[in-house]
Every structure is written in C-alpha cells, then in structure tokens.
Symmetry: C2
Subunit: 313 residues, 2 copies
C-alpha cells in the first residue's frame, strides 16, 4: 500500500518538530495527524487548542522555531493591553494567534465540531496534511499536585509545571468518542507513528479516547514510537520528572513500557542503546538512531530512519 | 449647588469631542456621562460597545482623533489575520481595542452588568468621570431599509449607512430599565447636557429607556441640547439624511422639535441663527454660538458657552 496514509499521534512542540521532518520526506497529503486536546483551555473566554495549533502552525510553515509556540513574528499588543488594564496574562497569545482562537471559539459556539473547525483552519492556512483532534468531545487533563487538582494550563504555564505530580485525571475521557475518520485512519494506515511527545499529557489523552488504544492494537499497520526521553532527560518539557513522579523509570525503556500493548517498533537514541535489550524483551523491535532533532537535516534523517525501520522509506 | 454633577447624554464621536472640551473646563469628577448602547454589537463573538468605548477612550486620552474610533496608535494584526483566513472583517477592531472587548465579554459572561464592567474599564484606564450605559439590559437599534430590517452596525459600518431609512426599531427598549445611578444623576444634576449626537441613533436609544425621558422632564436642573446639525448638514454621520427620511426638517430646529418636551436651552450654530425664533416658539431658549469644534480651543469655548448659558460657568 504505497499510498496509504502515515498516521501520527502528536502532542505539541516535540511532535511538531518530528512532523516537520516527516512532511519533508513523504508527500504531505499522506500524513494524517491525530492531535491532543487534553491541554485545550479557555483563555480570556476563547477556546485555545495549544497542541493542535502548534502542529498546524508548523505544518503551515508559520511556527516560531525559537519560542516553540505561536506564529512567527507575531506581536502581543492585545495581551499587553489586557495586562495594562489589570488582567492576568500568563498564557501567551499573539495578536495573529488570537484571530485563530476568535475564529475557533465563534465556530464552536455556532455548533461546529472541533474537527470541522480544525479542518477549516488548516484549509485556510494551506496545510496539505490532515490534522484531526483525537476527539470532538471535551477531554481535559487535570494535574493533581500538592497545591490540589489543577487545570492543565494552570499547572503547566502559569505555575511553570513545578512541583510533584501526584496523579493525572483525564476529565471527560469516559465519554470521549474518536473524531470522524480517526479509527478508520488507524485501521487503514500504512504505518502509525507515536511522535516523541510526553506519554502522559500529550499521548495519554489521545489513547484515552474510547476505542482508540484498541484500534492501535488491532491495526494491521506497523506502529512505531519515538522516545521523548534521551539519556534520562526529556527532549522538551517535564516528561522525565512526570515519569518518576508517576512511578515509572524515566528512560526510553520506561516509555516503551507504557506503549508495549500496541507498539511494534520503538525508536531510541544512540545514547540509550544499552536499553535496547530491555525494550526487545517487551516484544518490540528496538531501533537505535540519532533522535535529537537539531536543524532541518536532522529532522529529516530521523523521519527517514523511522520510515526505513517500518519498511516504507 | 456648585459641586453637583453635570450630566451628559452621549453618543459616539460627536459627543466625545464635546465632552473632551467639557472635561477641560469643569473638574472631571463632576462629569457623569450616560452612554448609548443601541449600537452595541457582537463582533467575532465579542461584545463591542462602540459609543461607550469612544467616550471612554476620549476621556482616557487614548482616542484616535483622526479615525474617530479606537485607540491611538493601535495596530490591526489580529483583524488582518482574520481576514487572511477568510473571515469578513468590515468592523474595525484594533489589537489593543480587542483587549477591552475580550475583558468586557468575559465579565458579562460571568454575569457582571454592563455598567459594572464599564466602571471597571474606566477605573483601569484612569478615567475620572463617571461613564454609565443608559441601561444594563439589551437594547439594540435596528434600521429598516429597502434591503430589510438590519442590525445597526450591519447598516452603519458594513453597508456604509447607505440607502433610505424607512424606520428605526429599538429592540428591547420596552424592557430596558435605567442602569444604577442614572435616574438619580438626572434628578440631582446641576445641569443636563444633550451632546451634539444623532438624535435617532445616539440619543434616541437613551431616551427610550423606561423612565429616562420622564426623569429629564421632571428634573429641577436646566437641560441644554447642542445641535448636531449645522447649516442643514450633520457635524458627523448620517443625521441630516435620517431627519429627512424619518419625516423631520434636517435643521437645528428639527432637532429641537424632537427634544421640546424636556430641553430648556437649545444651542445652535451661528450659521443657523435665523432658526432661533422658530426654536424659541417651542418654549426653549435658543443660544447661538460657534458649535463647530475644530481643535481643543474651540471645544473648550463651546463647553464654556453652554455652561454660561446655563448659569454654571
């Protein structure tokens, strides 16, 4: 099936970097991204979908590579003025970025589904790949910390993801159904890739959608995951600390263990090659390569290596 | 009562110019502005109060004197990006201006009254005068044209106020109660001023609020109105054409006739001095002065002349 789709499960910045490389080595129309909505939030009354937007801006070539989020060259006049009138503005929202949130919020209020709005935005921004939220239902990550149960962005952005994580709760997961096309894409894929994203707060909410993990177990396509942990540290964000906090080894093998029921190929960094036997014991093929994506060439090489490991390069 | 308040009924740009002059010649704390909400609208899901904001920005010294609306030096990145993704953007919203609308919309959704939110915004922008919407209830001006019954901003901004006006409807007026403090301010005022605003679409919705016109008739304070029509033309906007369309003379005397039941002093321009006898026949004192406000000095002179005519200069 040379033309069947490559399906990717994606969080935010780490995933977007990997997808940028992938989109450079396969026809963009072949890429079908299932995005995380667990970090969605209402900010100043607007529905913000940070992970979807990071992937969307990246695939549209609008992303800010330094900051990691938002639109390149954006200004912050609105946010600065909100701050001037005394509003807390801990969540970064650029002026152009705001247009996306105004549009999304308006369409959702009209009764459109998040997947429809995301498709409309991707079309407007000339994104050739499919980007579909894992679910159209409300599914929100809550973080239990010593300060209590916090909304995800409150913990992650406002409090700088500080402090011990006691547990996570995926509010709404029990009722969340996969968005249209998601299960079909997994079932009919040429390959499924789990991007190097935080397994708990980026991939976890995707896997929690009803029937989604089961679809990954049952698909005939090979499923590969790329470790977001290298040498015991996260490529980006609090993944390593969360692994420990939640009782797992903060290693590539620890991540592999979380995916062992549906992943066939686990891609880890050269630095972690000693973990390969441990991963292979979990009935996954361990593929050792350079997973640190500094620059466009490295991103493409990683994507190519993953595709080769799956026999679809 | 030298310290009693000067109450002003105000629309948008024309009123704001007059109030700017007034605020220069009386202590700002003495000024109590009753603002029009008939032109409020939902734009991109946000509650926009154009007339309140024009007055607020002017009293805060933030207004754009050339454009007439919005905040001086504002940028339009958000609106430009909305347009880029295919959204109609006929209503001008600057990036800083958006912060005001986001705040207002959020607070209203939390259950705050428009008068509370307006007071909060005025406090944040260091406005020393009181600015109170005529009502906290929804009161919207609809314009009947050959193209049908249109929402006010659709007619005024989107369609450039073109075409014959068959009638106006003030939706919600029957249920609109005066906002807290409005009737008390009128009853206890040192003077009441009707700003040089469009009598139908700016002052009309204020007068339509239950009990408000009656309070103006009953107040012991002198009530003065400044003509928005000079030499048969409006100082700003479509007032003259609307006068004719709705069956009135498009003159200062025509405006005086609309206010004859509650106005004692009618201020008209030197150009229209021949209309003074006609106005005095309506049992109002006609005061002839220069009402065209070119520059800060002229604005102050007009304010001073009005106050002198009322014996409170």
């Amino acid at each position: 099936m040379p033309d069947a789709r490559i399906v990717a499960l994606a969080g935010g910045v780490g995933a977007a970097r990997f997808l940028q490389g992938l989109a450079d080595v396969i026809p963009r129309e072949r890429l079908f991204v299932i995005g995380n909505v667990g970090d969605d939030a209402e900010i100043h009354g607007l529905h913000v979908s940070p992970d979807l937007d990071t992937v969307m801006y990246t695939l549209a070539g609008l992303n800010d590579p330094k900051r990691g989020w938002g639109i390149r060259g954006d200004t912050f006049r609105c946010l600065e003025f909100l701050s001037m009138i005394g509003v807390e503005t801990w969540f970064g929202l650029g002026d152009r970025d705001l247009a996306i949130h105004l549009y999304r919020t308006g369409r959702l209020r009209e009764g459109a589904k998040l997947s429809e709005v995301t498709a409309e935005l991707c079309a407007a921004l000339l994104v050739d790949s499919a980007l579909v939220p894992a679910t159209d239902q409300r599914l929100r990550t809550l973080v239990e910390t010593p300060a209590g149960m916090l909304e995800f962005q409150d913990w992650f952005v406002r409090r700088g993801a500080r402090g011990h994580v006691r547990s996570l709760r995926l509010e709404g997961a029990a009722r969340a159904r996969p968005a249209p096309g998601v299960l079909e894409a997994i079932a009919g894929a040429a390959a499924v890739l789990v991007c190097p994203s935080n397994p708990f707060i980026s991939i976890g909410p995707i896997l929690a959608v009803r029937g989604l993990r089961e679809a990954l177990r049952r698909t005939g396509a090979p499923v590969a995951a790329i470790s977001p942990i290298v040498g015991g540290r996260a490529l980006k964000g609090p993944a390593a600390r969360m692994m420990k906090d939640l009782g797992h080894a903060a290693t590539a093998a620890g991540v592999a263990g979380l995916y062992r029921d549906f992943v066939n190929v686990f891609v880890l960094d050269q630095k972690d090659r000693r973990l390969a036997p441990e991963i292979e014991k979990m009935e996954m093929r361990a593929v050792v390569t350079n997973t640190i994506m500094r620059g466009a060439a490295r991103r493409r090489e990683l994507a190519q290596a993953v595709l080769e490991a799956l026999g679809i390069a």
